[in-house]
């Protein structure tokens, strides 16, 4: 009875403080929406409208046909610049175009003679990701062109199909990732800062001479941020579904249950940070450091499989990586608990280890 009142008093106080702070409300409710809108529109990994300079030295019907096949979709925007090919690089430096297509003089001649014709395709490698995609498109277009020109009666055609995300929309893949990262950075930062603020202000000392037990204190300090975390992911999901029309294939109950398990990890990290920080700035810095590390090695932008072996091993220690798979799996593929058993096991292990370790450390720090 006494314990329940104590925890309730702490939770109530924490909410009063959070909702009285206009900055906090902005941070909690406006930030996720802004993040979604920004990432939804700006961080579009779909590559389209590749400005391509064309140097057609052949100038025949065949070469023009080849160029038309390039401009048929909106992947490439082709243009024949008024400059000699020797100055083509200047156009890249000035960002006037990101690719160049060079058709040699003997292009049609060789094709008509049934010989191999070479076409040059240069692409701006500054953005390696976009460059790779552009080369892929160019290859596909060339392949299709070959098929049309080939004398074979039944040309081999390649059928591509994107599973789970047929339109290959970046936003479908971003929203779940944002849900996972928001829950991570928000809870880590808020928990650690809320505890450190009390220490910084001296209120922790005042609280510690009351008969409150350490478990009650920890519960009082974590429950509010767990609740805020749930509110946060709900806001992000609602915006994703209502605005970006992302399909939610799997079970929301499973997602929320696993988010609950994941909370032990992030709240534990927040608590741990509070034991190594003396000021709120320090806590914020540690929280930021953790979040950046966790996000970069989580497969948010770059698939973990593409990372070098050493980094891949490091990512095994990143709880967000597993949670990211869980969130994307449930939302996009409708994954079940059975499909995700490895990630779920990881969630439980991380949660148990990190939370109990921080609990012990925290208890020792405050006695």
């Amino acid at each position: 009875m006494g314990r329940r009142r104590t925890v309730l008093a702490l939770v109530k106080k924490e909410f009063l403080q959070v909702f009285r702070d206009k900055m906090m409300i902005r941070l909690i409710f406006v930030a996720p929406i802004l993040q979604l809108l920004l990432l939804g529109y700006a961080v579009n990994l779909d590559v389209r409208l590749i400005y391509t300079a064309v140097f057609d030295h052949d100038r025949t019907e065949i070469s023009r046909e080849f160029l038309r096949s390039f401009s048929a979709d909106d992947y490439f925007v082709i243009d024949a610049p008024d400059i000699p090919i020797t100055q083509a690089e200047k156009g890249f430096r000035e960002n006037r175009y990101n690719a160049a297509l060079v058709i040699p003089e003997d292009f049609s001649e060789r094709l008509e003679a049934g010989q191999e014709a070479r076409v040059g395709f240069w692409v701006d490698g500054t953005n390696a990701n976009a460059a790779g995609i552009a080369i892929g498109y160019a290859g596909l277009i060339t392949q299709k062109f070959n098929e049309r020109m080939t004398p074979l009666e039944r040309p081999i055609t390649l059928h591509k199909k994107f599973l789970y995300n047929p339109e290959a929309k970046t936003i479908y893949f971003m929203v779940p990732a944002i849900v996972a990262t928001l829950l991570t950075s928000l809870t880590v930062m808020l928990t650690s800062m809320a505890i450190v603020r009390e220490r910084e202000m001296g209120t922790l000392e005042q609280v510690m001479v009351t008969p409150i037990s350490t478990p009650a204190f920890i519960m009082g300090k974590t429950i509010p941020f767990a609740i805020l975390g749930f509110i946060e992911i709900t806001v992000a999901l609602a915006v994703g579904i209502a605005w970006f029309r992302i399909p939610f294939v799997g079970s929301p109950l499973l997602l929320y249950s696993l988010a609950f398990v994941y909370l032990f990890t992030v709240l534990g990290v927040g608590m741990f940070i509070s034991t190594i920080s003396h000021t709120q700035q320090q806590a914020m810095f540690f929280g930021w450091f953790f979040s950046v590390f966790a996000i970069l090695t989580s497969g948010f932008f770059t698939p973990v499989a593409n990372m070098p072996a050493v980094v891949r091993y490091i990512t095994l220690a990143n709880p967000l990586q597993y949670f990211m798979k869980i969130v994307r799996g449930i939302i996009m593929k409708g994954a079940t608990a059975g499909d995700l058993y490895r990630e779920i096991a990881a969630m439980f292990v991380f949660g148990a280890v990190i939370f109990s370790f921080s609990w012990i450390r925290f208890s020792k720090r405050t006695k």
């Binding site: 005042q206 009351t210 006695k367």
Partner: protein, 321 residues
């Protein structure tokens, strides 16, 4: 001594605390009696806060024994929490919460029910006069009101023992007086109060006092006892002296303390006012009308402390506010 209901709510023996090689407190003994107000007086750095925080189980100490209500500290501190109220030196309530929200928070921590809180709240408002400011945010309260609220939060569970670390520092004179009126009421109701202060005038309102300086105990006794400790005469001269001037006096072997616009000169029994005037003139001061006065607690303190150059006790308004 059995824990609980002992005749000595707080007992400290041979208390010593080192921070690294720096001695913060060097061998303090004190005992707080039931329904007694014991004041611990001394300047900044005397070691009062270290002593008080140790009594409240917040720091480990190097040597000595502390018992609160018969319980060993820090080992059995948990047992004492329900009957102890501690006001830290630094104001430590939530500035972004209102007066009532702060009280409700502490009521929750001590496990009071809603009804218990309502009754208690009214009583606390009654004696603190904070009822009119119940919805005001703490950050918008005056210094005196803040301290009354901090005390109120510590009274929510009817503690038998109060440990108050400089509760009136930085508070206006009227509020300080009101604060001590509240302490007197609490004492009448049976509370035992250990309170530290840098103001000597407040020592006069305690039952007993301890003078501390640089971690050491200088004297102990009732305010009357302590005043009688003064040996020699005290002369007052209406001159304002700079720190450099004080060093000069010290160099000439004149013991003195600054009291705002006046100077107190401490002499042997045989020295008369005329010689004091001459001595001051010799130091380049022009005292107009040196007269002998009754020694106050502050004068006792300065005499006990021994005035050291650059370390003279700065009597922050002890006599004139």
């Amino acid at each position: 001594m059995t824990p609980g209901n002992t005749p000595v709510p707080i007992e400290v023996r041979g208390f010593k605390k080192l921070y690294g090689s720096i001695v913060a407190v060097d061998g303090i003994d004190l005992s707080l009696g039931k329904a007694e107000i014991l004041a611990v007086a001394g300047p900044d750095g005397a070691g009062k806060t270290t002593l008080f925080r140790s009594i409240c189980g917040l720091v480990d100490f190097t040597e000595g024994k502390i018992s609160v209500d018969g319980y060993h500290i820090p080992k059995d501190f948990e047992a004492v929490k329900p009957i102890l109220g501690y006001m830290p030196q630094i104001f430590s309530l939530y500035p972004d919460l209102s007066v009532e929200e702060n009280l409700a928070f502490y009521a929750g921590l001590f496990g009071l029910s809603r009804d218990e809180f309502r009754t208690k709240k009214e009583r606390l408002y009654e004696f603190s006069g904070l009822g009119a400011f119940a919805d005001r945010r703490v950050q918008n309260l005056s210094g005196g009101m803040k301290q009354k609220l901090a005390l109120s939060c510590n009274l929510i569970h009817n503690p038998e023992i109060l440990v108050l670390d400089e509760p009136t520092t930085g508070v206006d004179p009227l509020s300080r007086r009101q604060f001590w009126d509240i302490l007197a009421d609490l004492k009448r109701e049976g509370a035992s109060i250990l309170v530290s202060t840098p103001y000597m005038d407040e020592v006069g309102r305690a039952d007993r006092a301890i003078f501390m300086n640089r971690g050491k105990l200088l004297a102990e006794g009732t305010p009357e006892d302590l005043v009688n400790r003064y040996q020699g005469r005290v002369y007052e001269a209406p001159v304002e002296v700079t720190s450099a001037g004080m060093r000069k006096l010290d160099g000439l072997g004149i013991r003195a303390g600054r009291f705002g616009a006046t100077l107190h000169i401490y002499t042997h029994e045989m020295v008369d006012g005329g010689s004091v005037t001459t001595a001051l003139e010799g130091a380049g001061l022009a005292p107009g009308g040196v007269k002998e006065i009754e020694p106050g607690l502050e004068d006792v303190f300065i005499q006990l402390m021994g005035v050291e150059p650059g370390n003279e006790h700065n009597s922050e308004g002890a006599t004139h506010d």
